[in-house]
Amino acid sequence: MKRHGLILFLVALLILPIMALNFTSCAKKAVTTEAPGISAEEKARQEAERKKREQAEREKAAAEAKKKAEAEAKLKEQQLAREKAAAYAQRALFLNQHVHFDFDKYTIKTNAEIVLRAKADYMKKNPKIAIEIQGHCDERGTLDYNLALGDRRANAAAKYLMSLGISQSRIETISYGEERPLNPGHNEDAWAENRRAQFLIISGE
């Protein structure tokens, strides 16, 4: 009895969808048979709806494409910004990291060599730029001697860059003696900061 019931159930399961299919096909038939009866107005409405639907789909696709493109552009922009920031940082370092000297000296110190190597690298990465090296002194001593000393410092830095393969034609030198201190103080810290060769990009950017 139990088994019989199960079989019936399975048959029902099979038949029911077939019936349903039959029913829908009957309904379809009914519609097509009715087709000649729909008005031109209704047809136009349906056509418009279809077009609207297609339009909406196109728009959706376009919007998605745009979104994707935007995301890509944003990524690229971020990438560029990162690169730009890095370049800016390198440029800032080039301009703001100075080569320092001992009092009354124009020999390049060991830690200054590291700074100068970074300058040479930057100039190799930016092969179009030309620079000016400004030589500066602290406020002590006499004006004329400090002008000469500043010039020697600028030239010492220039020569070091040239020894690293930078063309002389890309380097100009100038001395400001003690006229342009970075630190207006009158103590050893200020003096040490002010005894420097400073780098300026004058063309090629």
């Binding site: 009354d104 002590r140 001593g141 006499t142 004006l143 004329d144 001697y145 002008l147 000469a148 000393l149 010039d151 020697r152 030239n155 220039a158 020569k159 030198t173 100038i174 001395s175 400001y176 006229e179 342009r180």
Partner: protein
């Protein structure tokens, strides 16, 4: 040194002659064996009106005699007596022998008396100025000047030069030009002032650095370095009309120009390996290279006979002063003491150089004979004294000092006495003074 003695002797003779019949006859005024001249006490009371009932602003009646006293003090030849010690109370005391009670001046120890009277008519000022020997009760010098009101200071400096001529046999240098650099808002421009006067004239006027002024020997031109086109260049400016020419033609940084008596220019040109000294003609062509060495060679200064020049070189590791012949040969080192000796200037009248020496981180002014002997320290303040330059007669030195908290121009005598700031009516900080070689008539 020799000339110094001659002048000492001249004063002695003059005063001696004057006083030969006086009460202090036989008194030794100036001991010519001493390097320092005995200073003569002097009084310069307020000026009085020439005509009865005349009047003048305080800047004339008191300002001018004060300026006269201050300037005479700068020579180091006088002790200028304090006005508050004056005994003369007679309102009727005049400016002629008959109207002066010389005892009033004798009592306070004054040996020389300068009296002045003024008259102002419209915009014109007349000054009558008289120098008296107090012991003798006799006028040594009397002058009357008339000009526009603003020339009062110039009348005083002219009269002082006459006083110096009468007392020393040598005209003073008051009224001669001193050029210097004034710093304001990071810009440095060149100005001029007449020694002993207050009003300044602006020579350069641009928003950059204008440095190292140097007069030509006729006083008509001024060489200087300017950054006005960004790159420093050497210019020569004619003072009469301000016309100037660029003299720097060979490439390099020009430092410390100096004219030679013939109008050529000694200058250091700094290039990639060295700063060397060159002789340029008036339009900047190289006539001769005077130093040929690696390193720094700057600050040339020519000897009075034009045969040698002194300069600074770091060839021995530190900046020191050397001399060489005008062909660049026969180099001899002058300074050996200290690690830093710069800014030499050869005296126009003696075989001495004035220069800056550093000791214990302080920069002071010294003089030394060109053979390196007889070094004398002239300043010893807890400040930086730099840029010394001789007056045209070699009696005074003008220099820069920071002793009053900012950079200012000072003068002193050739042996370091009377270190006084120039009274300039100018805001800013001053440096790099240079004295015109011309002594005015």
């Amino acid at each position: 040194m020799k000339l110094h003695k001659v002048i000492g002797l001249t004063i002695c003779l003059l005063i001696g002659l004057i006083l030969s019949s006086g009460p202090a006859s036989g008194r030794v005024y100036i001991d010519i064996n001493q390097p320092f001249v005995r200073k003569i006490p002097l009084a310069a009371p307020d000026f009085v009106p020439l005509k009865s009932g005349g009047s003048a602003p305080v800047s004339i009646s008191q300002g001018l005699p004060q300026m006269l006293s201050h300037n005479l003090d700068l020579t180091g030849l006088f002790i200028v007596l304090d006005k508050r010690t004056f005994l003369e109370v007679n309102k009727k005391a005049g400016i002629t022998e008959g109207k002066i009670n010389f005892k009033d001046w004798l009592m306070i120890g004054s040996e020389l008396l300068i009296k002045g009277a003024y008259d102002i008519t419209g915009n014109n000022l007349t000054l009558e100025l008289r120098l008296f020997d107090v012991f003798e009760g006799r006028m040594l010098l009397g002058k009357r000047y008339t000009s526009v009101l603003k020339d009062g200071q110039a009348m005083i400096t002219r009269f002082i030069n006459e006083i110096m001529l009468i007392l020393t046999g040598e005209r003073g240098v008051f009224g001669s030009a001193i050029a210097f650099v004034n710093k304001q808002d990071q810009n440095k421009n060149i100005y001029m002032v007449k020694f002993g006067q207050k009003d300044t004239i602006k020579i350069t006027n641009n928003r950059s650095l204008n440095l190292s002024p140097a007069f030509s020997h006729d006083g008509n031109e001024l060489a200087y370095i300017s950054y006005k086109t960004r790159k420093p260049e050497l210019y020569v400016r004619r003072l009469s009309d301000g016309r100037e020419r660029k003299v720097s033609s060979p490439k390099g940084l020009y430092i410390s120009p100096q004219f030679t008596p013939s109008g050529a220019i000694l200058v250091s040109i700094s290039q990639s390996n060295y700063s060397n000294i060159y002789l340029l003609d008036g339009i900047g062509r190289i006539k001769r290279q005077l130093t040929r060495l690696w390193g720094i060679n700057i600050s040339p200064t020519i000897s009075p006979d034009g045969k040698r020049f002194a300069f600074v070189s770091d060839r021995a590791g530190t900046p020191q002063i050397y001399t060489a012949s005008m062909t660049g040969g026969d180099v001899s080192r002058v300074t050996f003491e200290g690690e830093y000796n710069t800014d030499p200037e050869w005296s126009p009248r003696a075989d001495r150089l004035v220069y800056v020496g550093a000791h214990g981180g302080r920069f002071n002014i010294y003089t030394i004979k060109s053979d390196g002997t007889d070094r004398q320290q002239l300043t010893s303040e807890e400040a930086d004294d730099t840029n010394p330059c001789w007056s045209p007669n070699g009696r005074l030195i003008v220099f820069t000092s920071t002793r009053l908290g900012r950079s200012m121009i000072f003068t002193m005598t050739a042996n370091g006495e009377r270190q006084r700031p120039l009274a300039l009516s100018l805001p800013g900080e001053q440096s790099s003074p240079t004295w015109s070689p011309v002594i005015l008539d």
